[in-house]
Symmetry: C2
Subunit: 495 residues, 2 copies
Amino acid sequence: MFEAAEIGHKLAKGEFKRIEPQLRGDLLDAQYELSRLGRFPVVILISGVRGAGKGETVNLLNAWMDPRHIHTHAFDNPTDEERDRPPMWRYWRALPPKGRIGMLFGSWYTAPIIDRVFKRSRPAELLQSVDEIRRFERMLADDGVLLLKFWFHLSKKRQRERLKALEADPKTRWRVTQRDWDFFRYYNRFYRISEDTIRQTSLPWAPWTIVEGSDPEYRVATVARTLLEAMRARLDQARDTGTQPPAQPLTPLVRSAGDTDLLSQLDLSVSMSRKKFDTELAKQQQRLALLTRHPRFREHHVVAVFEGMDAAGKGGAIRRITGALDARLYRTIPIAAPTDEERAQPYLWRFWRHVPMKGRLTLYDRSWYGRVLVERVEKFATPAEWSRAYAEINDFEEQLARNGGILVKYWLQISKEEQYRRFKEREATRHKQFKITAEDWRNRKRWAQYQTAANEMIERTGTSAAPWTLVPANDKYHARIQVIKTLCDRIEALL
Amino acid sequence: MFEAAEIGHKLAKGEFKRIEPQLRGDLLDAQYELSRLGRFPVVILISGVRGAGKGETVNLLNAWMDPRHIHTHAFDNPTDEERDRPPMWRYWRALPPKGRIGMLFGSWYTAPIIDRVFKRSRPAELLQSVDEIRRFERMLADDGVLLLKFWFHLSKKRQRERLKALEADPKTRWRVTQRDWDFFRYYNRFYRISEDTIRQTSLPWAPWTIVEGSDPEYRVATVARTLLEAMRARLDQARDTGTQPPAQPLTPLVRSAGDTDLLSQLDLSVSMSRKKFDTELAKQQQRLALLTRHPRFREHHVVAVFEGMDAAGKGGAIRRITGALDARLYRTIPIAAPTDEERAQPYLWRFWRHVPMKGRLTLYDRSWYGRVLVERVEKFATPAEWSRAYAEINDFEEQLARNGGILVKYWLQISKEEQYRRFKEREATRHKQFKITAEDWRNRKRWAQYQTAANEMIERTGTSAAPWTLVPANDKYHARIQVIKTLCDRIEALL
């Protein structure tokens, strides 16, 4: 694969001078159309060997286009805020919003490749990373991101020459470090592992372009043309709004036999006395207080998700948990309509930004599951969007779990009659009136559809790392104890 | 001052039980009204001695109110992303948006007081910090933030007892560290310095409340009542929208004699040949490239601000600078309409969030000066808002400068005739048409008002740490060279 990028591709200076003005003008036009349209972002990955002109090329592209609409990010060593979160967190925070171009120097490929080159990881681990990258890039593509990946290549001979030349010039000597020569010694291994990785991740929606890095004119013209063609094609396509690809219908994961499903199997008649509740709550809160102050808890973080029909008692259950927590350690995120900064990003971005650092807890009152619940039922998301969300969510939660996250997901189930009773009670009680709106009554009309959606959600996203806890919630006392006890059990199991 | 908080304030348990339900209900009501109104945020500082119940009180308030609308932040050691920016950066990023309550454990008072207690700073430095805090809090108050500051106090005797009691109980032993006893040894010094600081920063718009910390019921009731009264008063006032306080008119800083002002004094006829420009640009770009790669540059950061009438050549000047920079090190921020997350914060918040880390450059294409230019002239800001902005901006820039920031501010001045020529040229050139809108023609009609505003801005915000560079810009070549050369000179002077 790389051989084709070692044959000495060149672009004569005269030829370059001839095509440059047109290329620049066209790129600038495309950039402004991208910005005006505001429909999708462009993400450009810049990777490859040292000395192959990555920096020069990016600088030139910034000079050609309008740098005000380009976000360039270099990923050196992670900061401590980044180290304390899943590895992908730093890339999520660097994603450009719709209408903008993001150039990423170093990317989600860097660590998996380097770790394997220096044998800090095993072959199976690299395979796993590649698999995850494929799914992540697929998610970006599905979300409309135009993703272009460039690999700057130099033959071993050329790289040695290039590093030596940089070292020889006093103006550029600072650019060559011991680390570059350390890498150079592993050239062959790096070559092989990069090539494998590129091969496995070259996909129509996330194409790699290998750029021979020895000729400055050739490399910038190659990147510029590739970028321009991709942007033009996508811009022309984006103007035709009517051509959303039809969604692949999802077949049920588990065929239900008659009326039987997970939720209707729940015994909603369970209950607990007030007295028992008081004793048990004190006990569990004390337990939770000690668990979250355990020294080993600092290596973990908790992400708790509360879902359920309106008036199922999510808020009350959350407050019985936070009552036992140090307010400095937790954050409660009520999910409302996204802000405009959130709307300009892929769907999961607004949840990634709140991922807690180690030692902290984040409680989500409603969550990313809105995609497959309210957005599905109310048709705010297209079938294509919500049906791919299951896999995207599983990937997201898996990353949290692997990084020491303790994921606790609750579905609070009440009967339709109990909901009616609670709505009426809210309407009658002064300080509860703000909790009941016309929207709640509207949602209630689609009870069956919400139940179907919830059942499917539980089937598709209940994993061993992030299982659902189904909570019969007609009786608040019983429900609250089950919620806090489950949280304690899950934390205890990991400490 | 503290003596009044050592007399054994207590609230009988029975009395507490009696008032608690009403207090909770009222607080919850106030919180929801705050949220519904969405007009201002509440910032609560929690400070004071160890063992005085700060944590317990905040936890209880979180339990009483709806924790989903409270953001609690604890400021321990700064992260490296925070350490690399001015000290106030971490507090700006923690400010709650309008409609929310932010509880800050530890605050902008912590470092100044502790540094002085342990003699890491001199008395004059503490005084300077206090002065800055006063101005910062005034800015918050002017921006509508409801600011409440609580100081939890314990007598020396009570603090010793409290720490010993915590140590004696196996369930709470973990809470007492060597550091607490180290602090305790400095009790008297801490007492004196805190008292001084509180006295100097007790102001009507940023009041301190000292809370005797020995009785759990008394302290939570005190904080709750103070909070409730302040919220109620402000909510009632916020409902009367018509009562904006009249702005204190600003008297001119420098009385102009006839038609003479800074901008009209500029010689706009200066020019430079294309040939000279090419040579000089290459020279200055090379110089800038080397300066920003200098090892000592990593201790600094550059904030460059570009202001000027429409079509004055801001974009072109910026691109001559970025052309010499490593794209990984700079960011260009075009100032457009604020996002809704930005609108929910004090005016300067959206600029603070982009303050670069050390070793980086941020170029602002228009900036916080919009407040005293376009927002003043077009009346998007009230006279009260824009006239206090000068001082707020000076404070902001001073903080940047003190933290190693190199502030370079350009006003690009063109004549009214030259602007007309450029507008017409833009309309006639295909790839420049996007640059000219009806709004530009509208702004042009207020040329004189913009000039007055710019003159006043330059007078009031040109400081030795952040001087204005006035650039005659009728000739683009001359202007661009002056801009890049000034930047180089300023960086060089500091390295």
